[in-house]
């Protein structure tokens, strides 16, 4: 059933992702929605697969575009309200309000401007006094934005969704919601593929595991590892998610493999009760060894990795525990591809200068293989698709490296030219000497002797 509440947009879809970012749809959010109870309002664009996780049969969906409303209307037990948030008033309050797309796509192009805070006030007005709120807040200073070029404005940005009333971090958000009588019971640093609570982020033993988990889906990797190391992973998260209002406090963390929690013994375990491996990532250890120029350690680590069952797992997805055991966190592919990925990380990370040039990906892959004692020709190194976006940083590194290699190649070209000239000179001198010697009596005798020997050899072969 579709209710046109006013302000609806006739030719518009937030669900198809063509007018702005894709709707909230990260599968790691599903367990949060599974806790929704009573009358549920889902405000803003949410992927249909996420909606499937809501157990309640009293669900109201608020969308702006008519095509989205029509697409969702066929869902059983669902009421679709199509229009702008401020028109959704006068209804009995909801027990659960879900706004995991944030507040920026709740008002339509037909609506008057409203500040972030006014929009929140309107949303909170729909929540019952003992109700539950699931809210996302985009971090406008998130690490994904730090190195990105200014994006071209999307269709949905008829005004830029930013104003002074928008909380700039979890503290401000907690204060705002507490003041509204909806205290936050849990908040997460929201990365693609991972929601990380404070306890998980505060435990240094989990750093390697979190690095591996985050860089598998998010980027830029060097900022993620840096933020984790410097205890800034919450402050610089791409977004935050808040669970507010009475009720269960929610899991400590959610990742693609499920929940991360402490077991009765205080150990961190994954959803299936397997303990979380503790240690550093192999890639982190390798890069640290590069920095210290600890070549023997580098060879030892590379060799141990390439001789282990984790040989085909990218180094960023292998944890090395205190006993030096490898714990792969991703399925294994071809070993040479894992080496090439490492080479790419080293080139992009500006470590290529550690090896004689040309230190392009294929050459470096072959050299890394050599460090493990394995013979590999750069021409046999398969190309692998680049896992990350190429930012200006990577392009600048590549340009500088290539410019350096070109200058070196030119200098070497000149050197070889000089070498050839001197060898030519030497050759000419030797030939002249040869001609002079051949004209002498001993020279002629030697010539005759050589001819005779050749003739004998020819006859013998024949």
């Amino acid at each position: 059933m579709i209710q046109l509440i006013g302000g609806e947009m006739t030719v518009w879809s937030d669900l198809d992702g063509t007018h702005g970012p894709a709707p909230a749809g990260d599968p790691t959010l599903r367990p949060l929605l599974a806790g929704a109870t009573g009358r549920v309002l889902v405000a803003g664009p949410h992927a249909p697969e996420l909606l499937d996780a809501i157990p309640s049969d009293q669900v109201t969906l608020l969308v702006r575009g008519i095509p989205d409303a029509e697409a969702l209307a066929s869902r059983p037990g669902v009421t679709v309200c199509c229009g702008s948030l401020e028109k959704l008033t006068g209804l009995p309050a909801y027990d659960t309000v879900i706004a995991l797309d944030g507040l920026d796509r709740l008002r339509s192009a037909e609506a008057d401007d409203a500040s972030w805070d006014e929009t929140l006030t309107q949303l909170l007005a729909l929540l019952s006094p003992q109700g539950r709120l699931l809210l996302r807040l985009e971090n406008l200073f998130g690490l994904d934005r730090l190195v990105a070029l200014p994006p071209a404005p999307a269709d949905t940005e008829w005004v830029t969704p930013d104003d002074e009333t928008r909380p700039t971090g979890p503290d401000a958000m907690r204060a705002r919601l507490a003041a509204a009588g909806v205290p936050v019971v849990r908040d997460y640093a929201a990365y693609p593929g991972a929601l990380l609570g404070g306890a998980v982020l505060a435990d240094p033993a989990l750093r390697g595991f979190l690095e591996a988990t985050l860089v598998a889906a998010a980027e830029p990797a060097h900022l993620i590892t840096g933020a984790l190391r410097h205890n800034l992973a919450d402050d610089l998260a791409p977004a935050w998610i808040f669970l507010a209002g009475p009720g269960a406090t929610g899991p400590e963390a959610l990742i693609a493999a499920g929940e991360v929690r402490r077991d009765a013994g205080g150990r961190w375990v994954r959803g299936d009760d397997r303990p979380v491996p503790l240690g550093r990532t192999l890639e982190g250890l390798l890069l640290a060894a590069c920095g210290r120029r600890a070549q023997p350690e580098l060879r030892e680590l590379l060799t141990a990795w390439q001789r282990s069952p984790a040989a085909g797992v990218p180094a960023a997805q292998v944890l090395v525990d205190a006993d030096g055991r490898f714990h792969p966190l991703a399925p294994a592919g071809a070993a040479v591809e894992a080496l090439r990925r490492l080479a790419a990380t080293m080139v992009d990370g500006g470590y290529a200068y550690l090896w004689p040039s040309p230190a392009d990906e294929a050459s470096l892959t072959a050299l890394l293989a050599g460090m493990t004692g394995r013979e590999l020709d750069p021409r046999d190194v398969p190309t692998v698709s680049r896992s990350g976006r190429e930012t200006v940083r990577e392009l600048t590194i590549a340009r500088d490296r290539l410019a350096g290699e070109l200058a070196e190649a030119r200098a070497q070209h000149e050197f070889y030219e000089r070498q050839i000239a001197s060898r030519d000179h030497e050759l000419k001198r030797v030939r002249q000497l040869n001609a002079v010697l051949s004209a002498t009596a001993p020279g002629k005798a030697a010539h005759t002797l050589v001819r005779g020997v050749r003739a004998v050899v020819r006859r013998t072969r024949g």
């Binding site: 040479v336 200068y353 050599g370 493990t372 013979e375």
Partner: protein
């Protein structure tokens, strides 16, 4: 790439280690350090071509070279250490006496000093038989050889260093290692490659006697006085052999040797026709 790469049969030893024909080593794509030194690893008059790497013996040398603006250094260890890795020491080595390397000049250089006084000091210090190893220039001087022999020393020469691709002597290091393994002690009047080689080859090292000097000797990178200051513990007739062996491992990069596959790749050398480990990896189809 540079004629000095073939000094003392260094490239020949590396070719053998890499499984290649060591009678005619391929061109080596870089500059190979050919002697222990306190500068950037290469000769003071070495001309660098940008982008051509220097293959250095030790991490300490690489750091020093880096500080001097030589960024293209890569530590591979000394060829002598590779030779020793291929022919390891054994308990059955019969060792006796001292092998003594008087400080020498290189082609075109002349040492100024009193050989008689030096011989007297060697006699006073060493209680076993002494073999004196002369550089080929000095060895050609029948007078000097006689002088040492008449003092009761055995006189030998390891061979030519070679240069400009002529007079190459692939057997140089082999002869040196064979001699070192026959002696209990290695000594010289200056700390030099031979002392580190000896220490690595199981000899007790010693550095004593008039250090002599070269005609017009230039004190590059602090010269002899700096060697005395920085490596003071290796000087004297009886330095601590354990510390000296450790210093030899560091200075010759003996704990940083490369696997053949890595070395071949760095030096720009081809793969040997049969490489068992290549077949094992399954990376190569040929």
């Amino acid at each position: 790439m540079h004629h000095a790469n073939h000094y003392y049969g260094h490239s020949h030893v590396l070719a053998r280690y890499c499984g290649l024909d060591d009678t005619d080593p391929p061109r080596l794509h870089g500059y190979l350090q050919h002697g222990w030194n306190i500068g950037d690893g290469l000769a003071p008059d070495h001309e660098y071509t940008p982008g051509v790497p220097s293959f250095l013996w030790s991490e300490r040398t690489r750091r020093r070279a880096w500080s001097l603006g030589r960024r293209q250094g890569y530590v591979v260890g000394a060829p002598f250490a590779y030779l020793l890795a291929m022919d390891p020491l054994s308990d059955s080595d019969q060792r006796e006496g001292t092998i003594w390397y008087p400080f020498h000049g290189w082609e075109g250089q002349h040492v100024v000093g009193d050989h008689d006084a030096l011989m007297a000091e060697i006699r006073r210090t060493e209680d076993g038989p002494v073999t004196v190893c002369l550089y080929w220039q000095e060895y050609r001087s029948a007078k000097l050889v006689r002088q040492y022999e008449s003092a009761g020393f055995r006189v030998i020469c390891h061979g030519y260093r070679g240069g400009w691709w002529k007079d190459l002597d692939p057997g140089f290091l082999y002869r040196q290692l064979a001699e070192l393994r026959k002696h209990k002690r290695v000594a010289s009047n200056r700390l030099c490659s031979a002392i580190f080689y000896g220490a690595l080859a199981g000899c007790e090292p010693a550095v004593y006697g008039d250090p002599m000097h070269l005609e017009n000797e230039k004190a590059a990178f602090g010269g002899h006085p700096r060697i005395l200051r920085e490596w003071a513990s290796l000087h004297g007739p009886h330095p601590d052999p354990v510390a000296a062996a450790r210093a030899a491992v560091d200075e010759l990069g003996a704990d940083r040797l490369l696997p053949p596959a890595e070395l071949r790749r760095l030096l720009g050398w081809p793969m040997p026709s049969s490489v068992p480990d290549a077949e094992l990896t399954g990376v190569l189809t040929r």
